[in-house]
Symmetry: C4
């Protein structure tokens, strides 16, 4: 039989390799997955493998119930977080989790990243949301599944759309980002790290910096998104 999911494993592998290229994690930290919606199959990074050794054939294929469909390696320990997000955010095609320094710092500080400028507004209109801290029961239960639930909760609570807000901070942990495909998920992880760094510096310079005014946020967001967008080719 031909290698049916070759393109999916290649896309997932290439997106994973962007993590060290964009300096979004050291060593084996972080992971990216890509989904084939028609087949209900996810290609994800194997657990604890260094990026320098990663090849498409190393990608693990799992279904949306976390059963390994193909691959000899153990999938990322965060797999259940990915699959839960795929099940509920039904338009996304890729998910990225990194330990990028500034995004982790905001996640550890348990503070949403405020929308302080047009670089931020070019990508999302709200603050970057941060989840609640998990209860001890959830931690001792199905932890990685519950991590996904914490993300779903904050999106429900703050009435956010995963198509408009493609990034979140898990409190005390770090960022998850997503997008139409795995490449866009990693792009969002790199953008988030830059937004986190800019917001950090801005508040060090002026701790009372207010959020960008709504008209300017909308202007920049809708320059790049929706039917009236006029950015790009």
């Amino acid at each position: 039989m031909a290698d049916r999911y070759k393109y999916l494993k290649e896309a997932a592998c290439e997106a994973n390799l962007e993590i060290p290229r964009q300096n979004l994690a050291i060593y084996t930290f972080g992971n990216v997955s890509a989904i084939d919606r028609a087949a209900g199959v996810v290609a994800i990074k194997p657990s604890g493998v260094p990026y320098s050794e990663l090849r498409p054939a190393d990608m693990v294929l799992v279904d949306l119930d976390n059963r390994v469909v193909e691959g000899t390696k153990r999938p990322s320990s965060d797999t259940k977080t990915h699959t839960l997000l795929y099940r509920h955010f039904d338009t996304i095609g890729g998910i990225c989790h990194t330990h990028s320094t500034y995004a982790v710092a905001w996640a550890q500080a348990m503070r949403p990243i405020p929308n302080l400028g047009t670089t931020h507004a070019d990508h999302l209109v709200t603050a970057v949301p941060v989840t609640e801290v998990m209860s001890d029961e959830m931690i001792r239960g199905d932890y990685e599944h519950e991590t996904g639930n914490q993300i779903l909760d904050v999106f429900r609570r703050e009435k956010l759309s995963p198509e408009e807000v493609e990034m979140v901070l898990v409190a005390g942990h770090g960022p998850f980002t997503w997008g139409k495909d795995a490449a866009k998920a990693v792009y969002n992880a790199a953008v988030l790290e830059e937004l986190a760094r800019m917001a950090y510096l801005t508040l060090q310079i002026n701790p009372l910096t207010p959020p960008l005014k709504p008209a300017l946020i909308d202007k920049h967001y809708f320059r790049k998104h929706g039917v009236s967008a006029y950015y790009g080719q």
Copy 2:
């Protein structure tokens, strides 16, 4: 017909490629233009094209009324800001807009960058000015044109000369710089980023650091500029 604006497109393209080389923006952020004053033609980066793919033939030529003169791509979404500046700052030959981290942080904090040392005074005698926040009417109107107007306003209000002050922060957005040609505009963007970083660190070390004394500012500025300059070859 020969490619009349070849040199202009090459100069604009080369200056755009300096943005990622000098780490002044990630992905497609930022843009540089170059003007041929005699022809009234501006070569500018196409909107949303990654720097790694940028070639001189991709540059879009527009006139000072923002009409595309040559090129198959859509020009930068910031084109109207560039052309307004070219119309009013009639000695400049190139304009650069970046999202460099420290300059953006000062722009988001809506604070002018004070002149705290000779690295700053080697390039300009004043603080780096910051515009007012735009009114909602202007944002919803001809936004990029109004961005240029905000820049002209702060230069008028603070009686600044665009030949002496080749940089500005647009509040909540980021830096614009310019110079005698596109290469100098990018040079000024890199210098501004370094001045922004030095000023940030200085005020973290000593929040009460006063501006450099006027005699020292003048000494350094006029070592490098004007009839008595004795820096360089």
Copy 3:
């Protein structure tokens, strides 16, 4: 006679070369050693030799009483700290000392690095401990030996296990890390630098950030360590 300790010198040299690759020190700062437990022989970096010139044959072999066993160069001035740790931490196979910037800053500030997130908890459950400041008598006595004693003291006082906590800050000086071999010791030095940077930024964003809750610390630590670990292959 064959070169009996060739593998040990190669492992020690390779681990030393990771220091500049991971940006953990400039010039000749820092040193790594590897031990052959059966032979009681330690291979360590020669003192003051630049990393760019370092070759396996330059490694100095010493026994656990600091006597040179092989090698024409003088061993690292920190050799006695290494050998004392090897004598007391009897399961470790390699030791690394760097002057990495953020870890040194915490050591100079004489503050333990609090466990603020899962990146930290993936590697150790406690704060990164910091030694007491040495008495003048100890400094003027057998200084490098006493540096090791300060490390042993803080491990005793805080009831820490060198197998669970593979890193320490020497007050006013900098980090020492270790592991099952020299490569793991340097890995821990790079991880420590990242934890130090993340904790620094977190407390700048929110000075009141509490430590991660115990259930979450345990969850992440035991995902990667011990009989129930399910991270990696």
Copy 4:
């Protein structure tokens, strides 16, 4: 006639090229010189020439009265500062001036860099001194000569030896460093930048961090310097 000062121009050029390699300045900022004491001749960087184009033949030779001895280019605008230091610090063989970011920040903040750890004490026992701000008369007079005088003043006032303290911050400007030759002068510039960065971070973590205790300062300094040194080969 043979090229008598070839070695001197090569040493000065090579040391200048270390400035961008060690990230101690952008563009044309900074300059290094080397002296031939027997001949009373100094080789110094030409003013305003980019490092990427710098060749040994571009070095300008001047005598200690600032007269050009050889070379077609104009010497660095800071030449008179160099020659005054050579005249008074009679054991030094090279001088380096950079605009490295953290050292400039301390110079702009007009604060000496306190001796907070052994990385600092490995190189000098005191704080890194900072000059007074220059009077307007001096600025309008022979400015670069007076910059040298400000450095001599702080060494006199604080009873410092240029052999023991090979670095200084000029208030509002930036660092000058020196050493037995031009290579050592640049080494000291890179070390100073790292000390400046470490001290900055340390005081951000703990603003009340005291200086390192005198016994520990002496221990580290005299491990590397003087008759009892035991660091290096």
